[in-house]
């Protein structure tokens, strides 16, 4: 998987910023594995939501480091802010306070176009409810990130190569016989595998998985987890997985617990 950042958007620049510590981030962040470098780093993340007159404090100063090639699990109860943290890390949302660095570049203040490029080229995302596009076949769903990345002519020019890549990923996740099927014709496990293949098609540096087994039975969930571990081990794909199930989380390299908006000390 890619471990270097090659910024292609002409108006986007990932500018390293000095670490900013606030009063809410006084504790020491959990350390990364000593022999690896931090691919992703979050410092003092705060996120609140306003619901009418009520302010809901979700994250109250989260510090986190993810090493390159690491399989990290973030575990916590429902409502602890796991998904919110993952959304911030994936630039789907912006923190109210704090910073996020990816390969040493600050990404939380990128303009929308820069965040779009980041998610398309460097991040892969897997969700609890798969979120495949129902009008497209499995193969087409897998190719969507490449369609987004390339313009019409460029995609058309390289479509044979892209289809070949999609078929390779279909074989990797064991769905080569389902390439032309629509999502409604797939089982839950098959849909999640298709979503993983989609997340991998652009050769991302980082895979963010939000409760990837949450909607599956135990056996199927384990199969998904085995696939993720294989990707991590064999292809050195950095994975950050959010789960509420400690037994699922235990199969990762490292587990951090989120409690009341903060990372619990180890």
């Amino acid at each position: 998987m890619n471990s270097t950042v090659s910024v292609t958007a002409p108006h986007v620049a990932l500018v390293p910023r000095p670490t900013q510590h606030t009063a809410q981030t006084a504790h020491v962040p959990p350390a990364a594995a000593p022999h690896t470098t931090a691919l992703l780093r979050a410092e003092g993340l705060v996120k609140n939501y306003q619901r009418g007159r009520h302010l809901i404090r979700v994250l109250q100063g989260v510090d986190l480091e993810v090493a390159d090639g690491e399989f990290l699990a973030i575990v916590g109860q429902s409502g602890s802010g796991k998904s919110t943290l993952l959304h911030l890390l994936g630039t789907l949302d912006a923190p109210d306070q704090g910073c996020i660095y990816f390969q040493g570049h600050r990404i939380d203040q990128l303009p929308p176009a820069g965040r779009d490029i980041l998610r398309n080229k460097y991040f892969g995302m897997v969700f609890q409810f798969y979120h495949l596009l129902p009008e497209l076949t499995t193969r087409e769903n897998i190719l969507v990130p490449l369609m987004i990345r390339d313009g019409l002519l460029r995609y058309w020019w390289g479509r044979r190569q892209y289809v070949k890549r999609a078929d390779q990923l279909l074989a990797l996740v064991g769905l080569e016989h389902r390439a032309a099927h629509r999502p409604r014709e797939l089982s839950g496990g098959e849909m999640q595998r298709a979503a993983i293949a989609r997340a991998l098609v652009a050769e991302p540096s980082l895979l963010l998985a939000d409760e990837p087994t949450g909607n599956l039975d135990r056996h199927t969930g384990q199969a998904i987890l085995d696939l993720l571990r294989t990707l991590n081990r064999q292809q050195r794909l950095t994975i950050v997985m959010v789960t509420h199930d400690p037994s699922i989380a235990a199969q990762a390299d490292r587990v951090v617990r989120l409690n009341e908006g903060r990372i619990e000390a180890a």
Partner: protein, 500 residues
């Protein structure tokens, strides 16, 4: 790529969008049909107007006295207009009264009496095409034909010399109080009052002689009625071979009333009621003589107008303006130069306004369809909220997400407009069969022949109009999709992903 792929898939899978396509389709088809039929009717009307009036008319100051030296002016006009001139003729146009006798009762009609040069009049107008006798269509003549009038008109009464001589014989027999022979019943005037032009009453033998010929507008002395069994018939009070009296003002000052007899030699049917109900044509020289439009000393003849026909493609307004420059009002106060469009301006403007208003009203159908598309699209955006969220999560920019829905609107508009154009054109090309079918189905005539002279519905398909209708329909569909597209683009990805 994903934009057009998703837009195409939405088009094929979202059946509710078919409802908005149907409204676009029907709106486009209706506009194509209406514009084609209006164009057809308008073209027929303009063709007839132009055919009757010629291209440009140079009129004198008044209809009573006219102006002299028509040849000199015509020579000058020929020099100014140059190779664009195709034909030219001089006419005398004067209001008159026409009197005819039907079974002893006299009827009077107001007519526009036009003296024409039968050699040159056909070169400036479609006059000869509107005559009923085939020979007169080939070469205009004010001589009564033996018979053969209106061969393509079943039920047309016996006319011409055959009829005239039979009638004269019957009249003679009646005057001798001899019992009438067996045969068809003919109308016989009991008390002819007019003197005969050019001959004394004693010498004139109607069985062998005719008065100066007159071509009569067909509707002046006829009625189109529906019989008790529903068939439409024309009832002619006067036919070719009958004599009529014309009373008109002379050209003197003050003008006096002059009456003369003429023999109807043919009918004129342009299918324009304004002209068929009022025009009557006589030889130019005969009318000039009758009205005293000849200078007794110099022999110069007076006319009231000169009519011009230009070559196809000539710019009528440009030629008119050239003539107006040559004959400016301050030097030639008695000249009025106008194109046929200038003369029929109010009528053409009324037709144009009617077409414009129809188009506006019918376009509202498509506009309403646009609101339908707007509502459907807002619904689809809500339905697709999660999909929009995942697209944004995968890195799709706002512009791309918006383009999906604008592209969807474009596809809907193209399909709807395309099907509408095809449907409209098919309807137009088979419109007469459809009219026949509707008549069969409803038992009622679509076009009442007592009112309309058309045998078939005239249609003209103008490609540019069809293209404009289709493009505007597509434009409305695209416009209607913009607001929903912007809404989709502005959705927050996290909220969209969590949407249920």
């Amino acid at each position: 790529m994903y934009v057009w792929l998703l837009a195409w898939r939405y088009l094929r899978t979202r059946y509710i969008a078919l409802a908005s396509i149907i409204s676009v389709t029907l709106g486009v088809a209706t506009l194509v049909i209406v514009n084609s039929v209006m164009s057809g009717f308008s073209h027929e009307m303009q063709k007839r107007l132009n055919g009757i009036l010629s291209d440009i008319v140079v009129e004198g100051p008044d209809l009573i006295s006219g102006f002299p030296d028509a040849e000199r002016y015509m020579e000058e006009i020929r020099r100014i207009v140059g190779p664009e001139l195709q034909g030219m003729t001089a006419v005398v146009h004067v209001p008159a009264m026409l009197t005819f006798d039907v079974q002893g009762q006299y009827f009077t009609r107001q007519v526009n009496l036009i003296g024409i040069d039968e050699q040159t009049y056909a070169s400036v107008s479609d006059f000869s095409q509107y005559l009923l006798h085939p020979e007169n269509r080939r070469r205009v003549s004010f001589q009564l034909r033996p018979d053969g009038y209106a061969p393509d008109r079943p039920g047309f009464p016996l006319s011409g010399w055959k009829y005239r001589s039979m009638r004269a014989a019957l009249e003679k027999m009646r005057s001798r109080s001899e019992p009438p022979p067996e045969g068809p019943s003919l109308d016989v005037p009991r008390d002819p009052t007019a003197r005969y032009y050019g001959a004394s009453q004693q010498q004139f033998d109607p069985a062998r002689e005719q008065h100066t010929g007159l071509v009569l507008g067909i509707a002046i002395a006829s009625r189109r009625v529906r019989n008790s069994d529903g068939t439409v018939v024309d009832h002619f009070f006067v036919r070719p071979g009958d004599d009529v009296q014309i009373t008109l003002p002379t050209a003197g000052n003050p003008p006096k009333a002059e009456t003369a007899s003429f023999t109807v030699v043919d009918f004129y049917e342009s299918k324009m009621s304004e002209y068929d109900y009022s025009f009557a044509f006589v030889p130019l020289r005969a009318l000039q003589d009758l009205r005293g439009m000849v200078d007794p000393q110099s022999g110069r003849r007076f006319v009231t107008a000169i009519q011009l026909k230009l070559r196809p493609g000539a710019d009528l307004d440009h030629v008119r303006d050239k003539l107006r420059s040559r004959f400016p009002p301050n030097e030639y106060p008695y000249f009025h130069v106008a194109t046929w469009r200038d003369l029929q301006g109010p009528l053409l403007a009324a037709v144009h306004m009617e077409t414009t208003i129809l188009n506006i009203l019918l376009f509202l159908i498509i506009a309403v369809a646009g609101f339908g598309i707007l509502a459907v699209f807002f619904m689809i955006v809500v339905e697709k909220t999660r999909d929009i969220g995942i697209l944004k999560a995968l890195g799709a920019p706002r512009r791309g997400v918006a383009t999906i829905f604008v592209g969807y609107g474009l596809a809907l508009g193209c399909v709807g407009a395309g099907v509408g154009v095809v449907l409209g054109l098919e309807f137009v090309w088979h419109i007469n069969q459809i009219a026949d079918w509707m008549e069969w189905l409803t038992g009622r005539e679509v076009f009442d022949p007592t009112v309309y002279y058309f045998q078939e519905i005239p249609v003209i398909v103008e490609p540019l109009t069809v293209l404009a209708v289709a493009v505007c329909a597509v434009g409305i569909a695209v416009l209607a999709s913009i607001l929903p597209a912007l809404r989709a683009a502005r959705l927050h990805p996290v909220e969209a992903l969590r949407y249920e």
